[in-house]
């Protein structure tokens, strides 16, 4: 929940956006890479960050040598965000290249909850780019032969138009869905052998779709929830009808009706139910998906958290790992489409 809450409560504030864009070089790296990537110079820098980070996720300010000057997980109030950035920038200006030893400041909550400082590893020259033949871990997110589909979802108002808010993930989601090459191959083979008849698509394909088609954060993911919990598949099936003459587009239809809830005693607790009716098109060739477009309408019931969370929007910066309370039942619409590799995720 930390990442989603930080995006909503910290990095969507106009004054923070202005300050970050004017005074900093913003870099986002994956927690899994800081945790486990050990190759090359980036691996060395991640190792240094691992020594001082207060938690697997967090916000830090680094000098030019990649030494952490400051870490923070939460803020006492919204104004403390700017105060932290200003404070950390002064630390940078005092020792921009790490020519003197760096003692990394750490705050569980800025400025009231300070943790012990940790001496950062000595500064070493940092190459300006990855050497030839080395791939940046940021470019290794998915297998190179996977097709990455783009997912978008919106909560709908009573009149069927999307809820205007696109900040909160319970109202708007955007995601990426990698489709493994092996699954693409199975789909292509299935359609090739269909003999011009309607066929049921592999359960793995249906499950992949249902895993990504929900509102809310990763923590309320119904299937394969990272926090565990129970999952119920009430109905989950996709079918393909042969293309009409002159077309290569198989017509898709399907229903996904899945529900999940947190395991007993897990806090914050959640429940999420999504039922969707899908239609779309699929083209395959040479054992790969060439085009996939799916649109679904349906209804979602989503609840997250309870007592003890932030009391107001401004209070959310004090509780970033917990997120904010959600309790909604809404009509929803989701879209999934493939784009060519390297076209970005817009």
């Amino acid at each position: 929940m930390f990442a989603g809450a930080a995006r909503e409560a910290v990095f969507s504030r106009p004054e923070v956006i202005r300050q970050v864009n004017a005074e900093f070089i913003p870099v986002a790296v994956r927690a899994a890479h800081v945790e486990g990537y050990r190759q090359g110079e980036e691996g060395r820098l991640f190792a240094g960050l691992r020594e001082s980070r207060p938690a697997p996720q967090g916000i830090a300010v680094l000098n030019q040598a990649g030494q952490a000057l400051d870490w923070v997980l939460m803020f006492e109030r919204p104004a403390a965000i700017g105060a932290f950035l200003t404070h950390a920038r002064k630390l940078y200006q005092d020792n921009p290249a790490g020519t003197r030893p760096v003692s990394t400041e750490r705050f569980r909550r800025y400025p009231s909850m300070r943790m012990d400082a940790i001496l950062a590893p000595d500064a070493r020259p940092v190459p300006a780019k990855h050497p030839a033949g080395e791939t940046c871990p940021a470019d290794q997110l998915y297998p190179t032969d996977a097709l990455v589909a783009q997912v978008v979802g919106r909560a709908l108002q009573a009149d069927g138009t999307p809820v205007a808010d696109t900040l909160r993930q319970e109202h708007y989601i955007q995601d990426q869905m990698p489709i493994p090459a092996a699954l693409q191959g199975r789909l292509a083979a299935l359609l090739a052998d269909a003999g011009g008849k309607r066929v049921k698509l592999p359960d793995e394909f249906a499950r992949l779709i249902a895993t990504h088609a929900h509102l809310g954060t990763l923590d309320v993911q119904i299937l394969s929830n990272p926090t565990g919990g129970t999952q119920t598949i009430k109905e989950l099936a996709f079918f393909a009808e042969p293309p009409p003459a002159g077309s290569q587009l198989w017509r898709l239809s399907g229903v996904s009706d899945v529900a999940g809830k947190s395991r007993p005693g897990h806090q914050p607790d959640y429940e999420n139910q999504v039922r969707l009716a899908w239609r779309g098109y699929l083209a395959v060739g040479n054992r790969r998906i060439r085009r996939l477009v799916l649109l679904a309408d349906g209804r979602e019931r989503l609840r997250w958290g309870g007592a003890g969370g932030p009391a107001s929007r401004d209070d959310e910066v004090r509780f970033l790992p917990a997120g904010h309370f959600i309790d909604l039942t809404t009509n929803v619409r989701f879209g999934i489409e493939t784009r060519s590799a390297g076209s970005g995720a817009q």
Partner: protein, 86 residues
């Protein structure tokens, strides 16, 4: 089917236009291009998620920090903050 399930299915069918499409026959089925256009309509023209241009390579970021004499603001995140669920 439960009352919840019936209400969901009804909402899904009405929202999708499937009831209309079914009664009007197969000619009413949206084309792939029409579905893609509907998906585009779900995407906001301007998203506050993308107001900060997060770089994703730490080495690139540090090189830029040195060239511009600015500190790096590092966000240790789950996915890509500009485009992905988190």
């Amino acid at each position: 089917m439960s009352a919840w399930g019936k209400s969901l299915l009804t909402a899904a069918l009405i929202g999708s236009g499937a009831l209309t499409a079914a009664s009007a026959g197969p000619q009413a089925r949206p084309t792939a291009a029409q579905l893609e256009a509907q998906i585009r309509q779900l995407r906001p023209r301007k998203s506050v998620w993308r107001a900060i241009p997060w770089r994703t390579c730490l080495l690139d970021g540090l090189a830029e920090a040195k060239a511009k004499n600015k500190p790096v603001l590092l966000w240790v995140f789950i996915h890509n903050p500009s485009y992905e669920r988190c």
